[in-house]
């Protein structure tokens, strides 16, 4: 049977991708940020899974206002890095896992989550920046990736509770897959940031750190937080953090299993407009 071995949480700031693509990672502005992921890259080499289930949001790239799916699962064999207006990022094609993705779609829809199934999709920085942060800049990504896009652009976005429960359904789906796959689930986006209006540039370190604490120790309580708290305290784009609850909901302790261990925790301000948060949680073997 397949199982979820670990969950990874990280911001996916586009400027981080630009810094990597332009060779600026050792500059004084960027060094503290990339330094925080040195452990993660080593960890990733030692814990390379068979598949990454990567929760992210599309930033008006694959989905315009023509169609706005709340939850979209990528079931294609491969996904191309998108041209977001600056030209496509020079990163490898993303190889999918159509068999596991289709299995998860079937199982999760039967569990009352109405996923949109996407067989053709380009992927933007929301997906490729976390891969760079965890894997560096290899010629090919180390394993297949199932993209899972969540609408956090047009309100109302899914609630924290719904995301958390979706994570539980994804875990159940993975564990019913009849092959011994090691699967990681990643939740990306956040932390506090606001990209619009006179309040642009908002950062709330205390709130972010409390969010990390609660994500580790009290995810069920955290899932009850209403959207307005994210907006007021962490900025209009801080709402991306609901996606972390999908990954957290897929961990074993949520369903009566043992608590995860914290392999790594990192926090840094700023990356461009944004507070960067990062966690690695491991399920006990």
């Amino acid at each position: 049977m397949a199982r979820i071995s670990a969950s990874v949480y990280t911001s996916h700031v586009p400027a981080i991708g630009a810094a990597i693509d332009l060779g600026k990672t050792t500059e004084p502005y960027w060094q503290p940020l990339f330094g925080g992921y040195e452990f993660s890259k080593r960890w990733m080499k030692e814990h390379t899974p068979d598949v990454i289930f990567l929760v992210y949001n599309d930033h008006a790239t694959a989905f315009s206002l023509d169609m706005i799916p709340t939850f979209a699962i990528g079931t294609a064999a491969s996904f191309a890095p998108a041209d977001e207006g600056w030209g496509p990022r020079p990163v490898p094609q993303v190889i999918g896992h159509p068999e596991l993705a289709s299995h998860i779609a079937q199982s999760v829809i039967q569990d009352d989550f109405d996923l949109t199934i996407v067989n053709k999709m380009d992927v933007d920085h929301g997906l490729t920046v976390p891969l760079n942060l965890m894997c560096g800049t290899p010629a090919a990504w180390p394993c297949p990736v199932i993209p899972f896009a969540v609408n956090v652009v047009q309100y109302p976005v899914p609630s924290g509770r719904r995301c958390f429960n979706l994570g539980k359904a994804i875990r159940k789906a993975v564990e019913s897959y009849d092959a011994p796959l090691n699967v990681q689930i990643w939740g990306t986006g956040g932390m506090s940031h606001q990209l619009q209006g006179p309040r642009a540039g908002l950062i709330n370190k205390e709130w972010d750190k409390r969010f990390l604490d609660r994500l580790i120790a009290d995810p069920d309580g955290l899932a009850a937080m209403p959207h307005i708290d994210y907006v007021r305290e962490a900025g209009s784009e801080g709402i991306e953090l609901v996606m972390w609850l999908i990954a957290r909901g897929a961990m074993a302790d949520v369903d009566g299993g043992p608590k995860p261990s914290v392999a790594h925790r990192f926090y840094h301000v700023p990356a461009s407009n944004t507070a960067v948060g990062h966690l690695i949680l491991e399920n006990p073997p």
């Binding site: 206002l65 041209d83 207006g85 652009v153 209006g197």
Partner: protein, 147 residues
Amino acid sequence: MSLDKPYLDVPGTTIFDAEQSRKGYHLNQFCMSLMKAANRKRFKAGERAYLDEWPMTEAQKQAVLARDLNRCIALGGNIYFLAKIGATDGKSFQQMAGSMTGMTEDEYRHMMVAGGRSVEGNRRVGEDGDAQADRQPQGHASRKAGL
């Protein structure tokens, strides 16, 4: 019965909800068209003519021509879509975000390096933070531009 919109009292913030999305559909889809290199080239060669191909309001077109992102957002634009205009102009996300505060690029960058904008006084309309309407613009961008 009216919809529940608890986010209307957050200062300096427009939440892109279904109503804003409806108002901004053509504006945002125009932005989306700039993801193609050929369209970016055509837009740069003649902005007004390109905009006239879209059923946008005149106010939306003027806001785009002026690169007034706050106005674009008030008229239904969303920052992730508007970012395509910035990309076409060769602007970073930080330059775009900063342009909405009235700060110069240096002022905004300095605020971010110093830890970002504080939430204190900026949670609700009527408090005394720097994002409140009576404290705009916040920096010297308009003075520098000679406006």
